[in-house]
């Protein structure tokens, strides 16, 4: 099917599932201390503090939203200025062509609209979505990651990746189930 690229299943990582967020937080902390870097947690609810242990920091979304707002406001005001002073300049009730106080509402709404686009689509894009199939879905435990299980996955591209060692480590940390996951054929 694919041309040239090797799409045979390869190891994706080791997936461990935990019963509650406290266990997961503890496991993530310990895994981080043990030197694992390429990992992610999958949870049904946002768990505060996880991203600190995952050493994950990303403030781009705020900037994207801000830029969206600036773009919207500028486009709104530019449109009003250009149409009212040159594209369709006509005297309406003796008001100045550039009657900026009257132009505020549209500019304001355009700012909010584009900022909201920035926040929504920026979030979706930064999360790498839409991507209906992801390798981690091959883990059986993932069926409950959106419901009541808290999952930690140490990925195969971690420099310290060793399936056996990680499995032992996770079991010691109180994981209910540990499995190793392969990527899907053809992806």
């Amino acid at each position: 099917m694919s041309s040239g690229r090797d799409t045979s299943p390869k190891p994706f990582g080791v997936v461990a599932s935990f019963a509650n967020p406290e266990l997961l937080l503890e496991a993530t902390r310990r895994a981080s201390e043990a030197g694992y870097r390429r990992m992610d947690a999958y949870t049904p609810i946002p768990v505060e503090g996880l991203t600190d242990y995952l050493k994950f920091k990303d403030s781009r979304l705020g900037w994207i939203t801000f830029l969206g707002g600036i773009t919207g406001g500028s486009i709104g005001l530019w449109l009003e200025w250009w149409t009212s002073t040159s594209a369709y300049a006509h005297n309406s009730g003796g008001k100045p062509l550039m009657s900026w106080p009257m132009f505020f509402p549209v500019m304001y709404e355009a700012t909010i609209l584009f900022a909201a686009f920035g926040a929504t689509f920026g979030m979706i894009a930064l999360c790498g979505l839409p991507r209906p199939h992801q390798p981690v879905f091959n883990a059986e435990a993932m069926a409950r990651a959106s419901q009541d299980r808290f999952i930690l996955c140490i990925e195969a591209d971690d420099p310290n990746y060793d399936e056996k060692k990680i499995s032992e480590f996770m079991k010691d940390l109180g994981a209910e189930e540990v499995e190793s996951v392969m990527t899907t054929e053809g992806y």
Partner: protein, 486 residues
């Protein structure tokens, strides 16, 4: 003092502070005695969009009948022209604009609950925000229909938007009507985005729980491949807060801009600066009334007593009371300014509204005062706020009152403005009524479709509360009983 005594003490004195509420929020939403032992999947089973009870068929059926009446009226309207409405000189704005403003207002509670209460970290909103947001979406749809159809040729309604065209025309950006186009379309788009973003994790839950192919694929596509990754959650929460931050000024601006449709004009009774704030308060007033009216039967039919508690009703009733008082203040100021202006047309308007003896419209004004000012004041009594039947009827009264408010503002002012030679009277036609009740039916129908197919309570936020609560119990905190007043 034990925690239970403190709880009572605070309830009596009203000395709730945010911290004490935050500590107990799980107890308020979920009844700990029933749920702490329960397994999470069983708890969530109640929230899945699968329950089909007989009230569903009755309500969706009634809604469907009225949707057809709406379609019939719209067909008559489009085939004949807007002359089938009662609008005519001098009253160019009739039911269409009254209903437009009324529906936009009803939508505001959803945005207020989802945005402003999120920013204020009022977690009690968690169990009502989803369907309040759905109400916003459907209410704005109902609202949007009216001005589009009022253009007379809705198939060219895109002329409202600025786009390069062969007529070389551009919109008049100094007109409040164009501000409306931008405000309402932005409001609808942002509300839709906010609603959708809020549902992504729940779509993932539904995808993973689906037992047959169609829901699995549909929810799979809607979930966009959401994994619940910690990194994704981090961005997700960031995006939610920002969307809330963007929606909050939207709540305030949309109805302000709608009020400019009137306040920017020189028609007597319209040209006042009190309009924007009092329209916004009125919108929240009507919106909360609709949320209460809707959640009382839904809570009973779907047995959601553990999620929507008597405290929710108490708080919603208090918001309604507070905004109702602001609206009443608005009426007072409106009257005062009319008198203070000393202008003959404004004075004549006051006379038109208030004189029972020989003016055609005073019945509308006094209905407004009765439904919107007198009846809501019963909410001062705590017993009334705890009585769902009373609350339902008061909310209905508020919705009727808010409709009369727009009726008082629009036809009364328009029918008698500056030129006595063109005084007139406004009589709505059967098509006007058909469309009004038709949009109510459309709203009910859409809400029940939503209940059937989408999670009406935010599942991940309820799970979060559940974990929060079990965590507290494990660590030896006392769990205080909910103040359910059954």
């Amino acid at each position: 003092m034990s925690l239970i005594d403190m709880n009572k003490h605070e309830m009596i004195t009203g000395e709730w502070d945010n911290r004490s509420i935050d500590g107990r929020i799980g107890d308020i939403v979920l009844d700990p005695n029933r749920h702490l032992e329960a397994k999470l999947p069983g708890l969530l089973g109640k929230l899945l969009p699968q329950n089909m009870r007989s009230p569903w068929f009755v309500m969706a059926g009634i809604g469907f009948v009225f949707v057809n009446i709406l379609l019939l009226c719209v067909t008559i309207l489009v085939l004949t022209g807007i002359g089938v409405w009662g609008n005519n000189q001098p009253v160019g704005w009739g039911f269409d604009i009254i209903n437009f403003v009324w529906w936009i207002g009803i939508g505001h509670a959803g945005t207020l609950i989802s945005a402003i209460l999120l920013l204020l970290r009022n977690q009690w909103r968690n169990s009502i925000n989803r369907f309040a947001e759905a109400m916003t979406i459907f209410a704005v749809m109902c609202a949007g229909m009216y001005p589009l159809l009022h253009t007379g040729r809705p198939w060219v309604a895109y002329w409202l938007f600025p786009y390069p065209n062969v007529m070389a025309l551009w919109p008049q950006f100094r007109s409040p009507l164009i501000w409306d186009v931008f405000a309402v379309s932005t409001y609808f788009t942002v509300s839709l985005l906010f609603w959708y973003v809020g549902m992504i994790p729940d779509f993932a839950t539904l995808r993973d729980r689906a037992t047959s192919a169609i829901p699995r694929h549909v929810f799979g596509m809607l979930a966009l491949g959401w994994t619940g990754s910690a990194k994704a959650w981090h961005r997700y929460m960031h995006a939610s807060i920002m969307l809330a931050g963007l929606s909050a000024p939207l709540v305030l601006s949309v109805h302000s801009i709608v009020s400019f449709d009137f306040a920017m004009a020189i028609v007597p009774g319209w040209n006042t600066t009190i309009f924007p704030p009092y329209f916004v308060a009125g919108a929240v007033f009507a919106g909360f009334a609709m949320v209460i009216m809707f959640s009382i039967p839904i809570r009973k039919w779907y047995r959601l007593e553990d999620f929507i508690t008597m405290k929710h009703f108490d708080w919603m009733a208090k918001v309604m009371l507070a905004t109702g008082l602001i609206v009443a203040y608005g009426y007072m100021m409106e009257t005062f300014y009319g008198w203070y202006s000393g202008q003959s047309a404004e004075m004549a308007l006051l006379y038109n509204r208030g004189n029972l003896a020989n003016t055609p419209y005073s019945w509308a004004f006094y209905s407004l005062i009765l439904f919107n000012v007198v009846i809501p004041n019963f909410l001062w009594i705590p017993k009334v706020r705890q009585n769902l039947t009373a609350l339902f009827w008061i909310s209905l009264s508020v919705n009727i009152g808010m409709w009369f408010e727009r009726y008082v503002i629009i036809p009364i002012s328009l029918s008698r403005d500056y030129l006595p030679s063109s005084f007139g009277y406004y009589t709505p036609t059967i098509v006007d009524f058909g469309m009004f009740f038709g949009t109510i039916g459309f709203f009910v129908f859409m809400m029940f479709l939503f209940i059937r197919f989408l999670p009406m309570i935010n599942m991940f936020e309820i799970k979060e509360l559940w974990h929060h609560m079990s965590h507290h119990k494990e660590h030896g905190h006392d769990v205080v009983a909910t103040g359910e007043a059954h």
